[in-house]
Protein backbone atom coordinates (compact mmCIF):
# COMPACT_ATOMS: atom_id res chain seq x y z
CA UNK A 1 0.00 0.00 0.00
CA UNK A 2 2.75 2.40 0.97
CA UNK A 3 4.60 1.40 -2.17
CA UNK A 4 1.63 2.31 -4.32
CA UNK A 5 1.26 5.69 -2.62
CA UNK A 6 4.97 6.26 -3.01
CA UNK A 7 4.82 5.39 -6.68
CA UNK A 8 1.90 7.75 -7.25
CA UNK A 9 3.79 10.57 -5.57
CA UNK A 10 6.88 9.74 -7.62
CA UNK A 11 4.87 9.87 -10.83
CA UNK A 12 3.24 13.17 -9.89
CA UNK A 13 6.71 14.47 -9.08
CA UNK A 14 7.99 13.37 -12.46
CA UNK A 15 5.10 15.05 -14.22
CA UNK A 16 5.37 18.29 -12.28
CA UNK A 17 9.11 18.66 -12.72
CA UNK A 18 8.80 17.95 -16.44
CA UNK A 19 5.95 20.45 -16.74
CA UNK A 20 8.01 23.07 -14.86
CA UNK A 21 10.94 22.41 -17.19
CA UNK A 22 8.69 23.06 -20.16
CA UNK A 23 6.67 26.06 -18.96
CA UNK A 24 8.94 28.81 -20.30
CA UNK A 25 9.61 26.92 -23.51
CA UNK A 26 5.89 26.43 -24.10
CA UNK A 27 5.68 30.20 -24.36
CA UNK A 28 8.95 30.93 -26.19
CA UNK A 29 8.84 28.02 -28.61
CA UNK A 30 5.23 26.87 -28.41
CA UNK A 31 3.67 30.31 -28.83
CA UNK A 32 6.37 32.55 -30.28
CA UNK A 33 7.89 29.81 -32.49
CA UNK A 34 11.35 30.92 -31.39
CA UNK A 35 13.71 28.01 -30.97
CA UNK A 36 15.64 28.74 -27.83
CA UNK A 37 18.32 26.10 -27.60
CA UNK A 38 19.68 27.96 -24.56
CA UNK A 39 16.54 26.98 -22.65
CA UNK A 40 18.49 24.54 -20.51
CA UNK A 41 21.06 27.21 -19.70
CA UNK A 42 18.31 29.61 -18.62
CA UNK A 43 17.25 26.90 -16.17
CA UNK A 44 20.86 26.42 -15.12
CA UNK A 45 21.17 30.16 -14.46
CA UNK A 46 17.97 30.06 -12.40
CA UNK A 47 19.49 27.21 -10.40
CA UNK A 48 22.76 29.07 -9.82
CA UNK A 49 20.88 32.21 -8.78
CA UNK A 50 19.02 30.26 -6.10
CA UNK A 51 22.16 28.46 -4.92
CA UNK A 52 24.32 31.61 -4.76
CA UNK A 53 21.63 33.77 -3.12
CA UNK A 54 20.69 31.11 -0.58
CA UNK A 55 24.31 30.48 0.32
CA UNK A 56 24.72 34.25 0.76
CA UNK A 57 22.02 34.17 3.40
CA UNK A 58 18.91 35.10 1.43
CA UNK A 59 15.77 33.19 2.37
CA UNK A 60 15.50 30.22 0.01
CA UNK A 61 11.88 30.98 -0.92
CA UNK A 62 12.80 34.51 -1.90
CA UNK A 63 15.74 33.17 -3.93
CA UNK A 64 13.61 30.63 -5.76
CA UNK A 65 10.39 32.53 -6.27
CA UNK A 66 11.68 36.08 -6.82
CA UNK A 67 15.40 36.29 -7.55
CA UNK A 68 15.68 33.40 -10.04
CA UNK A 69 12.89 34.57 -12.35
CA UNK A 70 14.05 38.18 -12.03
CA UNK A 71 17.68 37.48 -12.92
CA UNK A 72 16.91 35.08 -15.75
CA UNK A 73 14.12 37.31 -17.08
CA UNK A 74 16.63 40.17 -17.37
CA UNK A 75 19.21 37.91 -19.01
CA UNK A 76 16.48 36.73 -21.38
CA UNK A 77 15.57 40.27 -22.39
CA UNK A 78 19.24 41.15 -22.92
CA UNK A 79 19.70 38.05 -25.12
CA UNK A 80 16.58 38.91 -27.07
CA UNK A 81 17.77 42.45 -27.74
CA UNK A 82 21.37 41.61 -28.56
CA UNK A 83 20.93 38.37 -30.45
CA UNK A 84 17.64 36.60 -30.90
CA UNK A 85 15.59 39.40 -32.47
CA UNK A 86 17.89 39.40 -35.50
CA UNK A 87 16.84 35.87 -36.32
CA UNK A 88 13.04 35.98 -36.01
CA UNK A 89 11.43 33.93 -38.74
CA UNK A 90 14.68 32.11 -39.60
CA UNK A 91 14.33 28.85 -37.74
CA UNK A 92 17.64 27.19 -38.49
CA UNK A 93 19.68 30.35 -37.87
CA UNK A 94 17.92 30.83 -34.53
CA UNK A 95 18.76 27.26 -33.69
CA UNK A 96 22.47 27.81 -34.30
CA UNK A 97 22.59 31.25 -32.71
CA UNK A 98 20.91 30.10 -29.50
CA UNK A 99 23.13 27.01 -29.47
CA UNK A 100 26.08 29.42 -29.51
CA UNK A 101 24.43 31.40 -26.71
CA UNK A 102 23.95 28.20 -24.75
CA UNK A 103 27.66 27.28 -25.00
CA UNK A 104 28.67 30.84 -24.16
CA UNK A 105 26.50 30.84 -21.02
CA UNK A 106 27.97 27.50 -19.94
CA UNK A 107 31.42 28.96 -20.57
CA UNK A 108 30.78 32.10 -18.54
CA UNK A 109 29.33 30.18 -15.61
CA UNK A 110 32.22 27.72 -15.72
CA UNK A 111 34.70 30.60 -15.73
CA UNK A 112 33.04 32.16 -12.68
CA UNK A 113 32.02 29.19 -10.56
CA UNK A 114 34.19 26.38 -11.92
CA UNK A 115 33.07 23.04 -13.22
CA UNK A 116 31.88 21.73 -9.85
CA UNK A 117 28.62 20.32 -8.61
CA UNK A 118 26.81 22.61 -6.19
CA UNK A 119 23.31 22.65 -4.77
CA UNK A 120 21.07 23.67 -1.90
CA UNK A 121 19.21 21.42 0.45
CA UNK A 122 15.43 21.27 0.19
CA UNK A 123 13.48 23.25 2.77
CA UNK A 124 10.58 21.93 4.92
CA UNK A 125 12.13 18.59 5.92
CA UNK A 126 10.58 15.15 5.56
CA UNK A 127 7.50 13.24 6.51
CA UNK A 128 7.01 9.54 6.96
CA UNK A 129 4.87 7.47 4.64
CA UNK A 130 4.87 4.04 6.24
CA UNK A 131 8.44 2.84 5.98
CA UNK A 132 9.46 5.61 3.54
CA UNK A 133 10.80 9.09 4.25
CA UNK A 134 9.52 11.67 1.78
CA UNK A 135 10.50 15.27 1.27
CA UNK A 136 7.64 17.69 1.94
CA UNK A 137 9.18 20.06 -0.58
CA UNK A 138 8.50 17.58 -3.37
CA UNK A 139 4.80 17.66 -2.51
CA UNK A 140 4.85 21.46 -2.44
CA UNK A 141 6.49 21.38 -5.87
CA UNK A 142 3.52 19.48 -7.32
CA UNK A 143 1.17 22.17 -6.02
CA UNK A 144 3.42 24.94 -7.34
CA UNK A 145 3.48 23.41 -10.82
CA UNK A 146 -0.31 23.29 -10.89
CA UNK A 147 -0.52 26.90 -9.68
CA UNK A 148 2.00 28.03 -12.27
CA UNK A 149 0.08 26.54 -15.19
CA UNK A 150 -3.25 27.88 -13.90
CA UNK A 151 -1.55 31.28 -13.70
CA UNK A 152 -0.15 31.08 -17.25
CA UNK A 153 -3.51 30.01 -18.60
CA UNK A 154 -5.22 32.85 -16.79
CA UNK A 155 -2.71 35.47 -17.97
CA UNK A 156 -2.87 34.45 -21.61
CA UNK A 157 -6.65 34.04 -21.83
CA UNK A 158 -8.06 36.57 -19.40
CA UNK A 159 -5.73 39.56 -19.33
CA UNK A 160 -5.15 42.37 -21.79
CA UNK A 161 -1.43 41.62 -21.93
CA UNK A 162 -2.10 37.98 -22.74
CA UNK A 163 -4.57 38.80 -25.50
CA UNK A 164 -2.19 41.34 -27.03
CA UNK A 165 0.62 38.79 -26.93
CA UNK A 166 -1.45 36.03 -28.56
CA UNK A 167 -2.82 38.40 -31.16
CA UNK A 168 0.66 39.60 -32.05
CA UNK A 169 2.01 36.05 -32.39
CA UNK A 170 -0.79 35.17 -34.79
CA UNK A 171 -0.66 38.28 -36.91
CA UNK A 172 2.07 40.83 -36.17
CA UNK A 173 1.09 43.08 -39.09
CA UNK A 174 -2.50 43.34 -37.96
CA UNK A 175 -1.34 44.03 -34.41
CA UNK A 176 0.91 46.80 -35.67
CA UNK A 177 -2.06 48.35 -37.48
CA UNK A 178 -3.92 48.37 -34.17
CA UNK A 179 -1.14 50.44 -32.63
CA UNK A 180 0.69 47.65 -30.86
CA UNK A 181 4.45 47.47 -31.26
CA UNK A 182 5.24 43.85 -32.18
CA UNK A 183 8.98 44.10 -31.31
CA UNK A 184 8.04 45.22 -27.80
CA UNK A 185 5.52 42.43 -27.42
CA UNK A 186 8.07 39.89 -28.59
CA UNK A 187 10.63 41.24 -26.15
CA UNK A 188 8.25 41.18 -23.21
CA UNK A 189 6.89 37.73 -24.08
CA UNK A 190 10.40 36.38 -24.45
CA UNK A 191 11.27 37.96 -21.10
CA UNK A 192 8.26 36.30 -19.45
CA UNK A 193 9.21 32.95 -20.96
CA UNK A 194 12.79 33.36 -19.73
CA UNK A 195 11.59 34.37 -16.26
CA UNK A 196 9.37 31.30 -16.03
CA UNK A 197 12.34 29.19 -17.09
CA UNK A 198 14.46 30.81 -14.39
CA UNK A 199 11.71 30.15 -11.88
CA UNK A 200 11.66 26.49 -12.89
CA UNK A 201 15.44 26.34 -12.55
CA UNK A 202 15.21 27.85 -9.08
CA UNK A 203 12.39 25.58 -7.94
CA UNK A 204 14.15 22.46 -9.18
CA UNK A 205 17.51 23.49 -7.69
CA UNK A 206 16.89 21.90 -4.27
CA UNK A 207 16.11 18.52 -5.81
CA UNK A 208 18.85 18.43 -8.43
CA UNK A 209 22.59 18.81 -8.71
CA UNK A 210 23.73 22.05 -10.30
CA UNK A 211 26.72 22.10 -12.66
CA UNK A 212 27.34 24.45 -15.59
CA UNK A 213 26.39 21.77 -18.12
CA UNK A 214 23.20 20.71 -16.32
CA UNK A 215 21.10 22.50 -18.95
CA UNK A 216 21.61 19.78 -21.48
CA UNK A 217 19.75 17.28 -19.36
CA UNK A 218 16.74 19.59 -19.61
CA UNK A 219 16.78 20.97 -23.12
CA UNK A 220 16.09 17.79 -25.08
CA UNK A 221 13.19 16.62 -22.93
CA UNK A 222 11.70 20.11 -22.83
CA UNK A 223 11.68 20.44 -26.62
CA UNK A 224 10.41 16.92 -27.10
CA UNK A 225 7.56 17.54 -24.69
CA UNK A 226 6.52 20.90 -26.15
CA UNK A 227 6.73 19.66 -29.75
CA UNK A 228 4.75 16.54 -28.93
CA UNK A 229 2.20 18.80 -27.26
CA UNK A 230 1.50 20.38 -30.62
CA UNK A 231 -0.13 23.63 -31.63
CA UNK A 232 -1.99 24.28 -28.41
CA UNK A 233 1.22 25.02 -26.54
CA UNK A 234 -0.02 25.21 -22.95
CA UNK A 235 -2.64 22.45 -23.02
CA UNK A 236 -0.38 20.29 -25.17
CA UNK A 237 2.56 20.72 -22.82
CA UNK A 238 0.44 19.70 -19.83
CA UNK A 239 -0.87 16.59 -21.59
CA UNK A 240 2.53 15.63 -22.98
CA UNK A 241 4.16 16.17 -19.57
CA UNK A 242 1.53 13.89 -18.11
CA UNK A 243 2.31 11.10 -20.58
CA UNK A 244 6.09 11.42 -20.61
CA UNK A 245 6.41 12.11 -16.89
CA UNK A 246 4.45 8.96 -16.10
CA UNK A 247 6.35 6.79 -18.57
CA UNK A 248 9.75 8.03 -17.52
CA UNK A 249 9.07 7.75 -13.80
CA UNK A 250 7.63 4.23 -14.03
CA UNK A 251 10.49 2.98 -16.21
CA UNK A 252 13.05 4.68 -14.00
CA UNK A 253 11.46 3.07 -10.96
CA UNK A 254 11.84 -0.36 -12.54
CA UNK A 255 15.27 0.16 -14.10
CA UNK A 256 17.63 3.17 -14.15
CA UNK A 257 17.20 6.87 -14.98
CA UNK A 258 19.20 6.35 -18.17
CA UNK A 259 16.79 3.71 -19.45
CA UNK A 260 13.95 6.02 -18.36
CA UNK A 261 15.40 8.70 -20.63
CA UNK A 262 15.80 6.25 -23.52
CA UNK A 263 12.21 5.07 -23.22
CA UNK A 264 10.95 8.65 -23.08
CA UNK A 265 12.76 9.38 -26.34
CA UNK A 266 11.45 6.24 -28.05
CA UNK A 267 7.87 6.93 -26.94
CA UNK A 268 8.20 10.52 -28.22
CA UNK A 269 9.55 9.51 -31.63
CA UNK A 270 6.91 6.84 -32.11
CA UNK A 271 4.16 9.20 -30.93
CA UNK A 272 5.25 11.83 -33.43
CA UNK A 273 5.28 9.19 -36.17
CA UNK A 274 1.64 8.48 -35.34
CA UNK A 275 0.53 12.06 -34.67
CA UNK A 276 2.70 14.30 -36.84
CA UNK A 277 0.81 17.40 -35.74
CA UNK A 278 1.32 16.67 -32.06
CA UNK A 279 -1.29 15.81 -29.48
CA UNK A 280 -3.31 19.00 -29.86
CA UNK A 281 -2.92 19.03 -33.64
CA UNK A 282 -6.25 17.21 -33.82
CA UNK A 283 -8.02 19.92 -31.86
CA UNK A 284 -6.71 22.57 -34.22
CA UNK A 285 -6.48 26.09 -32.76
CA UNK A 286 -9.13 25.54 -30.16
CA UNK A 287 -6.87 25.07 -27.21
CA UNK A 288 -4.17 27.42 -26.00
Amino acid sequence: MDTVALLIIEVLNGISSLALTCAGLAIIFGMMRVINFAHGEFMMLGGYTTVVATNAGVNIWISMLILSPLVVGIIGIISERLLIRFFYGRLVDTLIATWGLSLLLIGIVTAIFGNYITGVSAPLGNFALGQYQLSIYRLVLIGLAVLLFVGIYFVFTRTRLGLIARGTMQNPDQAAVLGISPPRVYMITFGIGAALTGLAGGLLAPISQIIPTVGFTYVAQAFITVITGGTGAITGTIVASGIFGTVRQLVTYETTPIIGGVVLLIVAVVLLRLLPQGITGKIFRRSL
Binding site: L83, L103, A111, Q221, I224, I227, L265
Partner: protein
Protein backbone atom coordinates in the same frame (compact mmCIF):
# COMPACT_ATOMS: atom_id res chain seq x y z
CA UNK B 1 23.36 15.23 -66.83
CA UNK B 2 26.44 14.74 -68.94
CA UNK B 3 29.26 16.76 -67.49
CA UNK B 4 31.74 18.03 -70.00
CA UNK B 5 35.21 18.26 -68.52
CA UNK B 6 35.45 21.98 -68.98
CA UNK B 7 38.89 22.94 -67.77
CA UNK B 8 38.01 26.59 -67.74
CA UNK B 9 35.08 26.41 -65.36
CA UNK B 10 35.59 27.40 -61.79
CA UNK B 11 34.22 24.14 -60.46
CA UNK B 12 36.54 21.94 -62.45
CA UNK B 13 39.54 24.09 -61.60
CA UNK B 14 38.59 23.95 -57.95
CA UNK B 15 38.31 20.18 -58.03
CA UNK B 16 41.68 19.81 -59.74
CA UNK B 17 43.26 22.15 -57.22
CA UNK B 18 41.84 20.19 -54.28
CA UNK B 19 42.97 16.94 -55.87
CA UNK B 20 46.53 18.19 -56.36
CA UNK B 21 46.79 19.49 -52.79
CA UNK B 22 45.48 16.23 -51.38
CA UNK B 23 47.78 14.07 -53.49
CA UNK B 24 50.73 16.30 -52.56
CA UNK B 25 49.86 15.76 -48.91
CA UNK B 26 49.56 12.05 -49.48
CA UNK B 27 52.94 11.58 -51.14
CA UNK B 28 54.96 14.22 -49.36
CA UNK B 29 53.52 13.66 -45.88
CA UNK B 30 55.84 11.03 -44.44
CA UNK B 31 58.87 12.67 -46.12
CA UNK B 32 58.29 16.11 -44.66
CA UNK B 33 56.71 15.45 -41.29
CA UNK B 34 58.47 13.86 -38.34
CA UNK B 35 56.61 11.14 -36.45
CA UNK B 36 55.04 13.52 -33.93
CA UNK B 37 53.62 15.80 -36.61
CA UNK B 38 52.57 12.83 -38.72
CA UNK B 39 50.46 11.50 -35.87
CA UNK B 40 48.83 14.90 -35.51
CA UNK B 41 48.10 14.92 -39.22
CA UNK B 42 46.41 11.53 -38.99
CA UNK B 43 44.19 12.97 -36.29
CA UNK B 44 43.40 15.94 -38.54
CA UNK B 45 42.56 13.60 -41.39
CA UNK B 46 40.12 11.75 -39.17
CA UNK B 47 38.39 14.95 -38.03
CA UNK B 48 38.42 16.29 -41.60
CA UNK B 49 36.49 13.21 -42.66
CA UNK B 50 34.00 13.79 -39.85
CA UNK B 51 33.66 17.40 -41.00
CA UNK B 52 33.11 16.16 -44.54
CA UNK B 53 30.24 13.93 -43.43
CA UNK B 54 28.53 16.87 -41.73
CA UNK B 55 29.27 19.18 -44.64
CA UNK B 56 27.53 16.71 -46.91
CA UNK B 57 24.32 16.11 -44.96
CA UNK B 58 23.90 19.69 -43.79
CA UNK B 59 25.25 21.68 -46.71
CA UNK B 60 23.84 19.52 -49.50
CA UNK B 61 21.10 17.50 -47.84
CA UNK B 62 19.77 20.33 -45.68
CA UNK B 63 19.72 17.95 -42.69
CA UNK B 64 20.94 19.76 -39.59
CA UNK B 65 21.96 16.91 -37.34
CA UNK B 66 23.17 17.83 -33.86
CA UNK B 67 24.35 14.31 -33.21
CA UNK B 68 26.82 13.57 -35.99
CA UNK B 69 29.31 12.76 -33.24
CA UNK B 70 27.08 9.84 -32.23
CA UNK B 71 27.85 8.10 -35.54
CA UNK B 72 31.53 8.91 -35.11
CA UNK B 73 31.40 7.29 -31.69
CA UNK B 74 29.35 4.31 -32.83
CA UNK B 75 31.84 3.75 -35.65
CA UNK B 76 34.73 3.95 -33.20
CA UNK B 77 33.14 1.56 -30.73
CA UNK B 78 32.11 -0.82 -33.52
CA UNK B 79 35.72 -0.98 -34.71
CA UNK B 80 37.08 -1.39 -31.19
CA UNK B 81 34.67 -4.16 -30.25
CA UNK B 82 35.10 -5.85 -33.61
CA UNK B 83 38.87 -5.82 -33.67
CA UNK B 84 39.19 -7.01 -30.07
CA UNK B 85 36.93 -9.95 -30.82
CA UNK B 86 38.27 -10.86 -34.23
CA UNK B 87 41.94 -10.03 -33.75
CA UNK B 88 41.92 -8.69 -37.29
CA UNK B 89 40.99 -5.28 -38.63
CA UNK B 90 39.49 -5.70 -42.12
CA UNK B 91 35.95 -6.70 -41.12
CA UNK B 92 35.86 -4.28 -38.16
CA UNK B 93 36.69 -1.41 -40.52
CA UNK B 94 33.67 -2.37 -42.60
CA UNK B 95 31.60 -2.65 -39.43
CA UNK B 96 32.63 0.87 -38.43
CA UNK B 97 30.89 2.08 -41.59
CA UNK B 98 27.94 -0.29 -41.70
CA UNK B 99 26.83 -0.20 -38.07
CA UNK B 100 26.40 3.60 -37.87
CA UNK B 101 24.88 3.65 -41.36
CA UNK B 102 22.33 1.04 -40.34
CA UNK B 103 21.57 2.84 -37.10
CA UNK B 104 21.12 6.11 -39.00
CA UNK B 105 18.79 4.34 -41.41
CA UNK B 106 16.61 3.21 -38.51
CA UNK B 107 16.66 6.62 -36.83
CA UNK B 108 16.17 8.30 -40.21
CA UNK B 109 13.17 6.11 -40.95
CA UNK B 110 11.36 7.46 -37.90
CA UNK B 111 12.50 11.03 -38.38
CA UNK B 112 11.95 11.43 -42.11
CA UNK B 113 8.97 9.14 -42.60
CA UNK B 114 7.41 10.79 -39.55
CA UNK B 115 8.06 14.12 -41.28
CA UNK B 116 9.70 15.61 -38.24
CA UNK B 117 10.58 19.29 -38.54
CA UNK B 118 14.18 20.57 -38.58
CA UNK B 119 13.90 21.46 -34.93
CA UNK B 120 12.70 18.08 -33.88
CA UNK B 121 15.45 16.47 -35.91
CA UNK B 122 18.03 18.60 -34.13
CA UNK B 123 16.55 17.76 -30.75
CA UNK B 124 16.21 14.03 -31.38
CA UNK B 125 19.73 13.64 -32.75
CA UNK B 126 21.16 15.61 -29.83
CA UNK B 127 19.14 13.58 -27.35
CA UNK B 128 20.31 10.32 -28.93
CA UNK B 129 23.93 11.45 -28.62
CA UNK B 130 23.57 12.42 -24.97
CA UNK B 131 21.82 9.15 -24.21
CA UNK B 132 24.73 7.24 -25.72
CA UNK B 133 27.04 9.34 -23.58
CA UNK B 134 25.13 8.55 -20.41
CA UNK B 135 24.67 4.91 -21.31
CA UNK B 136 28.27 4.09 -22.28
CA UNK B 137 29.52 5.94 -19.21
CA UNK B 138 27.41 3.63 -17.07
CA UNK B 139 28.91 0.45 -18.50
CA UNK B 140 31.94 0.08 -16.22
CA UNK B 141 30.54 -3.08 -14.64
CA UNK B 142 31.83 -6.50 -15.63
CA UNK B 143 28.41 -7.47 -16.99
CA UNK B 144 28.86 -5.09 -19.94
CA UNK B 145 30.84 -7.34 -22.23
CA UNK B 146 30.44 -7.93 -25.95
CA UNK B 147 32.35 -11.09 -26.78
CA UNK B 148 35.86 -10.48 -25.43
CA UNK B 149 35.46 -6.71 -25.30
CA UNK B 150 34.57 -5.02 -22.04
CA UNK B 151 32.98 -1.59 -22.55
CA UNK B 152 34.69 -0.18 -19.41
CA UNK B 153 32.26 2.72 -18.96
CA UNK B 154 33.79 6.16 -18.55
CA UNK B 155 37.31 4.71 -18.40
CA UNK B 156 37.08 3.82 -22.05
CA UNK B 157 38.54 0.92 -23.97
CA UNK B 158 42.32 1.00 -24.30
CA UNK B 159 44.95 -1.07 -26.13
CA UNK B 160 42.79 -1.37 -29.19
CA UNK B 161 44.78 -3.04 -31.99
CA UNK B 162 45.72 -0.81 -34.93
CA UNK B 163 44.98 -1.69 -38.56
CA UNK B 164 46.74 -4.74 -39.97
CA UNK B 165 47.31 -5.72 -43.58
CA UNK B 166 44.15 -7.46 -44.78
CA UNK B 167 44.51 -11.20 -44.17
CA UNK B 168 47.64 -10.81 -42.03
CA UNK B 169 46.49 -10.21 -38.45
CA UNK B 170 50.07 -10.27 -37.20
CA UNK B 171 51.46 -7.54 -39.40
CA UNK B 172 50.15 -4.23 -38.08
CA UNK B 173 50.52 -1.03 -40.04
CA UNK B 174 53.24 1.47 -39.11
CA UNK B 175 52.29 5.11 -38.59
CA UNK B 176 53.53 5.92 -42.11
CA UNK B 177 51.20 3.29 -43.53
CA UNK B 178 48.28 4.46 -41.42
CA UNK B 179 48.92 7.94 -42.72
CA UNK B 180 48.74 6.64 -46.30
CA UNK B 181 45.59 4.67 -45.60
CA UNK B 182 43.84 7.53 -43.81
CA UNK B 183 44.75 10.14 -46.41
CA UNK B 184 43.79 7.85 -49.29
CA UNK B 185 40.44 7.18 -47.64
CA UNK B 186 39.88 10.91 -47.19
CA UNK B 187 40.63 11.53 -50.88
CA UNK B 188 38.33 8.68 -51.90
CA UNK B 189 35.51 9.93 -49.68
CA UNK B 190 35.87 13.51 -50.91
CA UNK B 191 35.84 12.61 -54.60
CA UNK B 192 33.25 9.93 -53.95
CA UNK B 193 30.95 12.59 -52.54
CA UNK B 194 31.70 14.85 -55.50
CA UNK B 195 30.74 12.08 -57.90
CA UNK B 196 27.68 11.28 -55.83
CA UNK B 197 26.59 14.92 -55.95
CA UNK B 198 26.81 14.88 -59.74
CA UNK B 199 24.80 11.69 -60.02
CA UNK B 200 21.04 11.54 -60.32
CA UNK B 201 20.76 10.63 -56.65
CA UNK B 202 22.94 13.54 -55.53
CA UNK B 203 21.10 16.02 -57.66
CA UNK B 204 17.79 14.94 -56.22
CA UNK B 205 19.18 15.32 -52.69
CA UNK B 206 20.27 18.89 -53.46
CA UNK B 207 16.94 19.57 -55.17
CA UNK B 208 15.10 18.42 -52.05
CA UNK B 209 17.13 20.86 -49.98
CA UNK B 210 16.19 23.58 -52.45
CA UNK B 211 12.47 22.84 -52.60
CA UNK B 212 11.05 19.76 -50.95
CA UNK B 213 7.49 20.24 -52.20
CA UNK B 214 8.52 20.60 -55.83
CA UNK B 215 10.67 17.48 -55.59
CA UNK B 216 7.56 15.63 -54.41
CA UNK B 217 5.48 17.06 -57.25
CA UNK B 218 8.05 15.59 -59.61
CA UNK B 219 7.37 12.20 -58.06
CA UNK B 220 10.49 11.84 -55.92
CA UNK B 221 9.96 10.24 -52.53
CA UNK B 222 11.83 12.81 -50.46
CA UNK B 223 11.67 10.72 -47.29
CA UNK B 224 13.64 7.94 -48.92
CA UNK B 225 16.29 10.23 -50.38
CA UNK B 226 16.80 12.00 -47.07
CA UNK B 227 17.04 8.75 -45.17
CA UNK B 228 19.70 7.40 -47.54
CA UNK B 229 21.68 10.66 -47.55
CA UNK B 230 21.57 10.71 -43.75
CA UNK B 231 22.74 7.11 -43.66
CA UNK B 232 25.65 7.80 -46.06
CA UNK B 233 26.71 10.71 -43.86
CA UNK B 234 26.59 8.42 -40.83
CA UNK B 235 28.72 5.80 -42.56
CA UNK B 236 31.39 8.39 -43.36
CA UNK B 237 31.30 9.68 -39.80
CA UNK B 238 31.70 6.09 -38.61
CA UNK B 239 34.76 5.60 -40.82
CA UNK B 240 36.22 8.79 -39.34
CA UNK B 241 35.60 7.33 -35.87
CA UNK B 242 37.38 4.15 -36.91
CA UNK B 243 40.47 6.10 -38.08
CA UNK B 244 40.42 8.07 -34.85
CA UNK B 245 40.36 4.93 -32.73
CA UNK B 246 42.99 3.10 -34.71
CA UNK B 247 45.33 6.05 -34.41
CA UNK B 248 44.66 6.54 -30.71
CA UNK B 249 44.39 2.84 -29.72
CA UNK B 250 41.77 4.18 -27.35
CA UNK B 251 38.14 5.33 -27.18
CA UNK B 252 36.01 6.61 -24.32
CA UNK B 253 32.46 7.97 -24.04
CA UNK B 254 33.71 11.55 -24.48
CA UNK B 255 33.21 11.06 -28.22
CA UNK B 256 29.49 11.30 -27.39
CA UNK B 257 29.90 14.36 -25.16
CA UNK B 258 28.65 17.80 -25.95
CA UNK B 259 32.04 19.20 -26.93
CA UNK B 260 32.51 17.17 -30.09
CA UNK B 261 28.86 17.56 -31.14
CA UNK B 262 29.32 21.33 -30.89
CA UNK B 263 32.63 21.33 -32.72
CA UNK B 264 31.31 19.47 -35.76
CA UNK B 265 28.65 22.10 -36.30
CA UNK B 266 31.25 24.82 -35.89
CA UNK B 267 33.58 23.28 -38.48
CA UNK B 268 30.85 23.46 -41.08
CA UNK B 269 29.64 26.86 -39.95
CA UNK B 270 33.16 28.27 -40.07
CA UNK B 271 34.11 26.59 -43.33
CA UNK B 272 30.85 27.37 -45.06
CA UNK B 273 27.55 25.51 -45.35
CA UNK B 274 27.16 24.16 -48.87
CA UNK B 275 30.84 23.41 -49.47
CA UNK B 276 32.92 20.30 -48.83
CA UNK B 277 36.44 21.73 -48.60
CA UNK B 278 35.27 24.46 -46.21
CA UNK B 279 34.30 22.13 -43.36
CA UNK B 280 37.59 20.23 -43.65
CA UNK B 281 39.56 23.48 -43.41
CA UNK B 282 37.21 24.60 -40.63
CA UNK B 283 38.08 21.53 -38.60
CA UNK B 284 41.79 22.13 -39.15
CA UNK B 285 41.58 25.83 -38.25
CA UNK B 286 39.56 25.25 -35.13
CA UNK B 287 41.84 22.55 -33.78
CA UNK B 288 44.91 24.64 -34.41
CA UNK B 289 43.29 27.58 -32.65
CA UNK B 290 42.35 25.33 -29.81
CA UNK B 291 45.86 23.89 -29.46
CA UNK B 292 47.34 27.36 -29.60
CA UNK B 293 44.97 28.71 -26.93
CA UNK B 294 46.00 25.81 -24.71
CA UNK B 295 49.59 27.05 -24.75
CA UNK B 296 48.79 30.70 -23.97
CA UNK B 297 48.83 31.80 -20.37
CA UNK B 298 46.66 34.87 -20.97
CA UNK B 299 43.93 32.50 -22.08
CA UNK B 300 43.85 30.54 -18.84
CA UNK B 301 40.40 31.84 -17.87
CA UNK B 302 39.01 30.64 -21.18
CA UNK B 303 37.32 27.31 -21.35
CA UNK B 304 36.10 25.24 -24.26
CA UNK B 305 32.49 26.31 -23.99
CA UNK B 306 33.30 29.98 -23.78
CA UNK B 307 35.48 29.84 -26.88
CA UNK B 308 33.05 27.67 -28.85
CA UNK B 309 30.06 29.78 -27.92
CA UNK B 310 31.82 33.00 -28.84
CA UNK B 311 33.00 31.62 -32.18
CA UNK B 312 29.52 30.39 -33.12
CA UNK B 313 27.96 33.74 -32.25
CA UNK B 314 30.61 35.68 -34.17
CA UNK B 315 30.08 33.55 -37.25
CA UNK B 316 26.32 33.44 -37.17
CA UNK B 317 26.13 37.21 -36.72
CA UNK B 318 29.06 38.41 -38.82
CA UNK B 319 30.16 35.76 -41.34
CA UNK B 320 27.00 33.70 -41.87
CA UNK B 321 28.27 32.31 -45.19
CA UNK B 322 31.38 30.81 -43.62
CA UNK B 323 34.99 31.36 -44.54
CA UNK B 324 35.32 29.45 -47.78
CA UNK B 325 32.55 31.20 -49.75
CA UNK B 326 33.61 34.53 -48.25
CA UNK B 327 37.23 33.96 -49.23
CA UNK B 328 36.07 32.94 -52.67
CA UNK B 329 34.02 36.08 -53.12
CA UNK B 330 37.00 38.17 -52.03
CA UNK B 331 39.28 36.27 -54.39
CA UNK B 332 36.93 36.75 -57.31
CA UNK B 333 36.77 40.41 -56.52
CA UNK B 334 40.40 41.26 -55.88
CA UNK B 335 42.40 38.57 -57.67
CA UNK B 336 41.54 38.80 -61.37
CA UNK B 337 43.29 35.55 -62.33
CA UNK B 338 40.87 33.51 -60.22
CA UNK B 339 37.98 34.62 -62.38
CA UNK B 340 36.80 32.07 -64.88
CA UNK B 341 36.65 33.53 -68.40
CA UNK B 342 32.90 33.34 -68.56
CA UNK B 343 31.74 34.16 -65.10
CA UNK B 344 28.77 31.99 -64.50
CA UNK B 345 26.24 33.42 -62.13
CA UNK B 346 26.30 30.83 -59.44
CA UNK B 347 25.71 30.81 -55.71
CA UNK B 348 27.30 28.60 -53.05
CA UNK B 349 30.64 26.89 -53.48
CA UNK B 350 30.95 23.71 -55.42
CA UNK B 351 34.56 22.79 -54.91
Amino acid sequence: MKIALDLKSWNTRGLIFVGVVMLALLFAGPEVFDLFVLLKVILFVSTAMLALSMGFIWGFGGILCFGQSAFFGIGGYAYAIGVINMGESTVPILLSVLVPAAFAMLLGYFMFYGRLSDIYLAVVTLAVTLIFYAFIRSTSGEEYVIGNARLMGFNGISSIPVFNWPGFPNSPLWPDDIFYVATTLLILVYFGLRILLRSHFGRVVVAIKENETRAEYLGYDVRFYKMIAFSIGAGIAGLAGCLFVSFNNFINPDVFALGLAAQIIMWVLIGGVGTLVGPMLGSLALQMLYNWLGTQTFASFLNTYLVFGAIILIFVLAVPQGLQPTARLLALRFLPFTRPPEEKARGGGDD
